[in-house]
Amino acid sequence: MTAAVESVRTLTLREVGPAERGTRPDEVVIALSPAFGEPFTKTIVDVPHAEVIRQLLAGIEERGGSARIIKVYRTADLAAIAHFGAKLSGSGIAVGVLSRGTTVLHQRDLARLSNLELFPQAPLLDAEVFRMIGANAAQYAQGQSPRPVPTRNDQMARPRWQAKAALLHLKEFECIDHARAAVEVEPVITRVD
């Protein structure tokens, strides 16, 4: 079900105000890292950020959930980003995403370093996986117990991706802005034909 993306879409994150605590009991917060969308535009394996957001939102929508997106500037630590999002989430469920693609499903009552589902190998995450992550997030938010998204593994990911992942991680750290509070954003996805 690779959503055969022939047309390219671009993503703009339009700031709508400070990130605040939500009230909808079934909402999922998608918490993005400092470099997500801007300056970076795609994951470590070139999945466009527009597609990451579109598929996460589609997964949530397909399961009848609602979503808000926030962008975090003060940390580039995935666990911290996701846990921060979970605390703002009306349901307590958040999806944390780094610009290189690494993703985690978090819940506000969990310890920061714990998680509901973790997808540590960014090179193995494609559009289909992001859709399933979104669907599971919505189900957790509704108090259901979805089957965990099947995890993939590849021994040879280390030689190919380990250093690029470190580099992207460092770049993400560069975009940390301690003075800037997290904001709620609205995704504007434009199709470029």
Partner: protein
């Protein structure tokens, strides 16, 4: 999946030759540009500190440009525990180029250069090794390696955590020559049965092989204290304070743990490696090698006998930057020079390219280290639960040929098929007897047969995992120890295996395996950097591959007989 997909095609039309080159496995590896400001650089960085040291009232008050009030805990630990206060000022004042030459020059003895090293600071050590090219680094390893006789270590694991497979592959690895065997688990609860498999199999293959099971601290120590395993290795340390704290440890907690192992008579080494700090995003702007040198000095200061280094699980990071593999060789040199046992990496999947895998190996294999691989996968890589090694069972014959080509001892040997089948079968039968005697889920004759001829976990009948896990729990609940296993083996007709195992346990009493780089010979003589200290002093000295051992390594699977060219040497 994505890792094996070809690179995206460029729009430009390419030549046939380019197409062939594009398809070469080396182009599936990842390479990145350096970024020294952030520590994404192997060993040559303008952002590393300059060497300096100052002593006041018998205490180091300045280290590599920082005064004591600005020390982080790594500086403090190294200044107070690793560096000799009496000699450091003079040592650091010695020109780096002179020290580098002493490392290479055969006329400077190991004792002399090791003694000088005791007074050096991390930045000074870096300053010295930066002057050395990779051949000089190999010269240095050849001389400073602590044990005279090189050795090797194997991984024996199973994708299904099948204890019979682990036993059979451990037996084969032992008979092929590995001095140490390491295992770990997919399902942690399987640990007791797999650790028993490793020990029973190992002692069947060759008496005196030392075994280890990588787990979280409490269980690993427990299995060690029961005598089911013989040593420990996966005690990680890091080169910056922030990463050390992220790992939930400090130099003091790790030093305490080192003493805890020794107090139970268990051999232990730390683990560190280049790239881990930058991988975690907290390199504090230092080069990978500078941070690794801090780890090496921290280990030395803790009084642990040895260190596993050579990037280890972060090898993809130094492997992707210029000069990275030179830096990896340099970290092995520094560990050896600091008088620690060095288990020198080559233990993780490193490259898609067979040629590159080999070249990464030579700086350790050619000069010889205490353990050239830490470890070599004694199972097919798909069964390797340490996420794959640089070498696996498919490479056994290549390794043996390289040893013979270069007349270098990499710790292994070619073993005839009948001998391998015999030890694999015996290991599986010994496990069958042990399981039966301990009321563990039965091992069938079919499984023994499979273990004798198998390659991977796919070749074994599936075990009843639930029953096995209950059995594993009962091993812990009943307090079964190594001594119980010795009794069972003796009672069930595996007297020689029992005797080998008892010899290993007996060494606890002597503490002989706590000395630097200690291993066991086949005759249960402890061989350490004391009674087998490296005495390399140039051509014609030190360990030489000759005599009986060289005759052994001349043997390969297929060698045409000179006497009768129509036949092969057996």
């Amino acid at each position: 999946m994505t890792a094996v997909a070809p690179r995206s095609e460029s729009a430009v039309h390419t030549s046939k030759r380019t197409a062939i080159l594009e398809d070469r496995p080396v182009n599936l590896d990842g390479f990145v540009e350096e970024w020294p400001e952030k520590g994404l650089v192997a060993m040559e960085s303008d952002y590393d500190p300059q060497p300096s040291v100052r002593v006041e009232d018998g205490r180091i008050v300045e280290l590599d440009g920082r005064t004591r009030d600005a020390f982080d805990f790594m500086d403090t630990y190294i200044a107070d525990h690793a560096i000799d206060v009496e000699t450091c000022e003079a040592a650091v004042a010695t020109p780096s180029v002179e020290i580098a030459r002493m490392l290479v020059d055969p006329r400077t003895s190991r004792d002399e250069i090791v003694a000088l090293g005791r007074g050096l600071t991390p930045a000074k050590i870096l300053d010295v090794v930066k002057l050395m090219n990779v051949v000089e680094i190999m010269m240095g390893i050849q001389k400073t390696r602590s044990r005279r006789t090189p050795a090797n270590q194997a991984h024996s694991t199973s994708a299904k955590d099948n204890p019979i497979q682990v036993a059979a592959d451990a037996a084969e690895a032992a008979v092929r020559g590995f001095a140490e065997l390491e295992t770990t688990l997919g399902v942690l609860r399987y640990a007791p049965l797999v650790a028993i498999g490793l020990q029973v199999g190992g002692q069947t293959g060759r008496g005196g092989v030392l075994t280890q099971c990588a787990l979280e601290e409490a269980t690993e120590l427990d299995l060690g204290m029961r005598g089911i395993t013989a040593y420990a290795e996966t005690i990680s340390i890091y080169g910056t304070e922030s990463v050390f704290v992220d790992g939930d440890d400090t130099p003091w907690s790790k030093a305490f743990l080192a003493s805890a192992y020794a107090s139970r008579g268990i051999k232990m080494r730390f683990t560190s490696g280049t790239g881990s700090e930058v991988q975690m995003g907290n390199a504090e702007g230092r080069s990978m090698l500078y941070l690794e040198i801090r780890c090496i000095l921290m280990a030395k200061g803790a009084g642990v006998q040895g260190l596993q280094n050579g990037s280890i699980s972060c090898i993809g990071v130094p492997g992707a930057v210029p000069g990275g593999i030179r830096a990896v060789a340099a970290e092995n040199l520094v560990a050896s020079w600091m008088d620690l046992e060095c288990a020198s990496g080559n233990d993780q999947s490193f490259s898609h390219s067979p040629m590159r895998r080999t070249s990464r190996l030579l700086p350790q294999m050619l000069p010889g280290t205490d353990f050239v691989c830490s470890g070599y996968s004694g199972v097919p890589n798909k069964d390797n639960m340490f996420a794959g090694s640089n070498l696996d069972t498919e490479d056994y014959d290549d390794w043996n040929v390289i040893q013979r080509d270069m007349q270098v001892d990499g710790g292994l040997r070619h073993v005839r098929e009948d001998v391998i089948l015999q030890v694999r079968n015996k290991a599986a039968r010994a496990m069958q007897a042990v399981f039966a005697e301990l009321d563990l889920p039965a091992i069938t004759d079919e499984e023994v047969e499979a273990a004798t001829y198998a390659d991977s976990s796919d070749d074994y009948p599936d075990r009843d995992v639930l029953a096995d896990l209950e059995g594993a729990k009962s091993v812990m609940d009943r307090g079964i120890t190594g001594l119980d296993l010795v009794k069972v083996l003796e009672r069930t007709g595996f007297g020689d295996v029992a005797e080998n195992y008892l010899q290993v346990l007996r060494q606890r009493v002597s503490g002989d395996l706590l000395q630097t780089a200690a291993i066991f010979t086949g005759d249960f003589v402890p061989l350490a950097a004391i009674n087998d200290a490296n005495d390399y002093a140039g051509p014609g000295t030190g360990y030489r591959l000759s005599g009986e051992r060289w005759e052994e390594l001349k043997k390969l699977r297929h060698v045409t007989s000179a006497e009768n060219p129509e036949e092969e040497v057996v």
